[in-house]
Symmetry: C2
Subunit: 401 residues, 2 copies
């Protein structure tokens, strides 16, 4: 399984169609897209934990889970967050005008927005663009994947076939990460589509589980957006259901893998990023602490800067693990590896070859392995981040005006 | 009250003497200092919460509070953290050799270290330097303030007289923040000295309270050091005790002010910083959440980058407050000001003058005021941070070798 080509065709599951166009909100780039299906979709959603939620997040959260979704519409350029009552009205308007053109009820339309916080949606432009959105429907993922980008450098798509006991289904994922033309844009959006037949309970459970192991384990800068949303959309077009335990395991695992692939692509494409950082933490005594510690490493500006400088700087890793609350006792028994080389064990620095490690760090992916002394508990977590470059500061210090 | 001149004389309370010399651990700069007193000192300490504590932190924590401290010794360049049993031995050795020269027991010597994590103390150089440390004792703060710096750009001292019912006492503070010559150095050290006569209970209580309102409310990059330590040292040389409630309030308030002045100086001198950010959050419903939210703003790379770019970017402030858990209801009633200008109120952006605000942001201090809608609860908190510049990345991406 690998990321889609981005410029060519990434297969959609049967019965799914998407489009992506320029509505005029942004100058040149596509800024409005839909996902729809010949068949009603069973849909689940997972949303930002931020108390300041965008109007679209409240709307979609209020409709899910559902077994009767017809369209997901998404605009980029304007986040419709911190926009008060007018924002709520505009979001409803977007769903309504979409429903008219796609011949369904507004309650069958999910909405998502990404872009500048605190500016009102250009709802007239969006409404006017609906017929074109319908006219341009296609069966490859790219037009939609491009329409939801802000300043991500590459569109992010992945598609895979899954063999189940009753037959084969297709799972396709599309995502965007954080990029900035105008600052304030930093939204994670993820769309998972399949022609498998799921009930709403299954859809919600599998999605929540997959998001926890993927999108929720990446960090570009530790700032949580007002608009983060991930959707699982299943139209049952294959007629294939999850009947055996093996089916459930295979589907659930593949969903996790697809989400992780997209999540890693988002981290690698973080603002100003030049390297993906992959943290693997094993042998922890407590899952919550393990996740917090692994994510903590991906959020440390000191570690991110060191990785940017292709420097090992393991002292910063140890200090951050301690700051996150990993017990001193565990740290003294920890084995810490970078790029597979042991650099700390038995409570003291290992005698590693600095020149060798430095050359290994000249890679576009940096692997940090932390082995804590409780392998019997079977707690393994992964997290992903990116390095911190001068480019990040440059992008985010630009005027929003 | 203002910061000491740095290059000249900052007054010590009566009976206090300090020195600072080059022991050879660092090439040219002073790297070893002591604080001592003619009279035994009542001493209290507050230390890093990091699970990975340096050897000196365990040592000093084990001795405090005490009414019989004679010397505080501090070295810079080597943090003596993550150094295993050898580090513990070397720290004990530092205390012992210091005790011999200053004619006391090792248990009367507090130790602190700042510098590179994971390298052993150059204990021979440090031991050899003890006689010179004693020979060079002086009654102004600067030699010690300089010896504890890593790459802080300026030494940080402050001194003030306090009028109490029984007479006048002097309170002098010295601190260092985070700077990097070798990466991995990021330690906050604070020393508060007074000739007031306190018991150990008073010393511990006043120090803890002052640290919570000052050093614990600053952030340069969100990474907690293995070595952070703050000490309050009182030698009683003035004979003045805190007898009335007013005495207690005055002393306690002055201690907070001195610590805040030093804390702000540390934030302003953060790595690569060009601006101090001061957050004032009032009208919150919950103190813990208020502190977390205010600190969260000082830790956001997006906000820090925007301040660096002299941009208001209030959407990032709102998003971070929401991410920290400030209820949506409170955010919708919040008044948000930057440099005194209202930029968000009644749940929507205010009609502020962008050009005026931009010119106000061209200042070396940026004030962010957040007024939440529960002024009746009387919860006001302050926090300080600094902007994020390309220089920060440059400093921290350098090789540690």
């Amino acid at each position: 399984m690998k990321l889609g080509p981005g410029i060519a065709r990434t297969k959609l599951p049967q019965g799914f169609f998407v489009s992506g166009i320029n509505s005029g909100v942004r100058k040149y780039r596509p800024d409005l897209g839909v996902i729809t299906s010949d068949y009603p979709m069973t849909a689940a959603g997972v949303f930002t934990q931020n108390e300041a939620k965008a109007a679209c997040v409240h709307w979609s959260k209020g409709l899910l889970p559902s077994n009767d979704i017809k369209v997901v519409i998404t605009n980029s350029g304007q986040a419709n967050a911190a926009t008060g009552a007018e924002g709520v009205f505009n979001n409803k308007q977007m769903a309504k005008s979409c429903a008219e053109v796609f011949e369904c009820d507004a309650q069958q339309v999910l909405t998502a927005s990404t872009g500048m916080i605190g500016v009102q949606l250009s709802i007239d432009l969006i409404t006017k663009a609906m017929p074109e959105l319908r006219a341009r429907l296609t069966d490859s993922a790219e037009p939609f994947a491009n329409a939801i980008l802000t300043t991500d450098l590459v569109p992010k798509t992945v598609s895979t076939a899954i063999k189940l006991s009753q037959g084969e289904v297709v799972l396709t994922g599309i995502a965007k990460g954080s990029g900035m033309i105008h600052p304030n844009m930093a939204t994670m959006l993820g769309y998972l589509m399949s022609d498998v037949k799921l009930n709403i309970y299954e859809a919600q459970t599998y999605l929540k589980n997959a998001v926890d192991e993927s999108f929720n384990m990446i960090s570009v800068d530790g700032d949580t957006s007002t608009n983060d949303s991930a959707f699982l959309l299943c139209n049952g077009a294959s007629g294939v259901e999850l009947v055996t335990d093996e089916d459930k395991t295979i589907f659930s695992q593949t969903l996790i893998e697809v989400c992780q692939l997209l999540a890693k692509a988002i981290a690698r494409d973080g603002e100003g990023a030049t390297k993906l950082i992959e943290i693997k933490l094993t042998g922890a005594a407590d899952k919550k602490l393990a996740k917090q510690a692994a994510r903590g490493l991906t959020m440390s500006p000191l570690i991110k800067s060191a990785v940017h400088g292709e420097d090992s700087n393991w002292g910063r890793i140890l200090a951050r693990l301690g700051a996150e609350g990993v017990p001193a006792e565990d740290l003294s028994k920890m084995i810490l590896k970078m790029q597979g080389e042991i650099i700390f064990e038995n409570g003291a620095p290992a005698a590693f070859d600095r020149d060798k490690l430095r050359s290994l760090l000249r890679s576009d992916t940096v692997f940090v392995d932390i082995e804590l002394p409780h392998p019997d508990k079977n707690i393994d977590v992964m997290a992903w981040g990116c390095d911190l470059s001068k480019k990040y500061v440059e992008i985010n210090a630009e005027y929003s005006t």
